[in-house]
Amino acid sequence: MKIFEYLSSLSQNELEDLYQDQWTCKAILRTLPPRAKQYILKMLMIDYPIPISSAKEWTSSTSMQTHKEALKKLFDLKIILLNRSYQQSVSDSIRLNPIYQDNIKKSLADMNQTVFTTQKETNKAPTIEALDAFSKSQWEKVLYFLSDEQTKPSPLISELLLTADLTKPDNGSLSITSEGFKFLLKDVYTQIWTLLIVYLNNNTPEKKKDLLTFLFKLSFLQLGKGYLVSNLNDLQKELLMDLKQFGLIYMVSNQSVAFYPTRLIISLTTGKTLSLFQNIAAEREISQKEQGYIILETNYRLYAYTSSSLQISLLSLFVKMLYRLPNLAVGIITRESIRTALIHGITADQIIEFVRHNAHPNAVNNGHPIPDVVAEQIKLWEAERNRIGYTKSVLYNSFPTTDCYNATVKFAQEQDFYIYSNDSNKTLIVNENGNDPIRTFIRRNFG
């Protein structure tokens, strides 16, 4: 998730500032992978550091890898703090960040949880469908702008796109960069976060914190309900206006008393489209209709059941489009079309992931959203372009004895530094990380 990358890049002080807010703590909790969530709750009521070895007992022995990943994520976010012990007899211990722990505890005991005051029921409130349509059209405007230069989004958005290096000035107009191409193929939440993070970085650190907190708070709102603008502070109001341009917030006009969150903003922190409990079946119908439209056959033909010119222009990044019918576009994946995409900086994985994300429900139900043969071929076409790999390395030669040479080669292989060696002229090449260890190894044993 983009947001984790961003949060992990913050310093401990900045993160702890963020953790002062209950809603932020909660929002982060539910964004974490399931295992990390469970760990936090296991440690929640323990107020003293526990030895890191006892954390191992939580997991089954078969999944140590994910166990470590989960812990690392929590360390990165400074949710779990590591107490290094300087005595041999006592092992390192871990504990929850007290600020974070306290806030989660508080929110667990809190029975009356409201984020913002809701507006009284009115008949003017937009329907959920209207909200969905609004956010969709707003966000598509941004994407349209990237994919063809005809349309013009609001100054704020084009400014952001420019700062994010997604577009670059080109003879007075803006044209898309290779980053921009990659951006187009990502899912909508990553796209939004990319822009939001650029937006946040444009602000001062204090403001940044308040804005992030506000964003997290927004994700606790309910779809289809109106919330009063008057209860927000000035900074929040300012952000609200900007979020409106993203299509994340709906307001009838800039002077309206109430704002309506859209599905996008509510699902933003979890990165998963929120489904409404009441009408899941209907929901699924809609989401399938909207999301899955690509059928890719083993003969490299691609059928896109869509009338959206945005989706077609996205596809044409890596597909040679052949025909266009009212509800269907047909294209073919060729070596040339994939190479064009690769030259633009799009990777094979991104293409495959994109097709998989947008596969037609029928293709998904068959179990093959993308045929293996096509996926493999796309990867091969990519590999074609990378026939030479570069590794920074260090060359050792003129070893004093064969023993010394053999021992060093063995050591390098064991430590995973080894790249190449030639026995006849006693040459050894190791990667960059290996330089220091090998030098000390030689010095210690043969120096």
């Binding site: 005991a109 009356n112 009441q278 429900p361």
Partner: protein, 318 residues
Amino acid sequence: MENNSIANNIDEDDDTSLLVIIVDCNIYSWGNREKLLKEGTLNDEKKTYITFSKFLEHLMVFINAYLMLNQENQLSVLCSKIGKSEFLFPNHTANDPLYSEKTIQEQILHKLQNMDLNNINETEERNISSSFSAAMSMALCYISRIKKATPTIRPRIVVFNVSPDVSAQYISVMNCIFSAQKQSIPVDCCILSQTDSTFLQQASHLTNGVYLKPQNQQQLTQYLLSTFLIDTYSRKFLAYPTLKSVDYRASCFCHKKIVDIGFVCSVCLSIFCKYSSSCSTCGTKFSLKIELPKKTTTANNTTTVIGGGNQSATASTK
């Protein structure tokens, strides 16, 4: 990053679940406990017992934590009272379909707190057992309804139990357990009384659920957060307590007594505590006269198959 289409995210890192909580609200069991606590006549082990209102506090923290874990987590709370069980949440009579998180907790708490008063007059004095089997069947029906709408959801049942087993409900409870097993719905049991529950032991054993009798009920929240909050997805890779020994004793079909040794009809496998010449369930006549074995306390969990025709005389079930 995550795929948006519902059909695709089966294998993904997804812990969205449907939790059905069955709370034992047997007023006699809770009342009795409260009385004992007030008198202070409890032995050391029972001293950590908690009252109903304290229990509610722990339960609410648990519910809060559950809802906090995932935006899409779904919840249902049932209570099994004396002679009746009902939904506390979702409340089907409420006309407002949209609820906020706040009202979930408030609705449940409101219902649970107001329950004691309106219930006590209705109950007959003789019948003091809670209707666990009814609550269990309601839970399963509810789950199957939700599953129809969202096939990918991972359902789970958590039972909080205080009152003793009712052997009269043996057949219906076992049927529920088997149906839960068939749909792979884990039944987690939290036993708040001193005695183990045979039914719930079997339930959690057969469905791969958690069976836990907290040693120190004052710290119930820690048990709930560290063990009962683990969703079905995370169970694949997290350690959680399971049962070591399970009491498999069955109760007989004729007098609903729990039996160590009994008689089993060779045709329909009904269990009886006394020998009779014909099966009351399927009507098979047992022609063979057999030597009745002496009941011994050491031969636990043994049942005798009554010879129907040329069947062998004894067999042991597990």
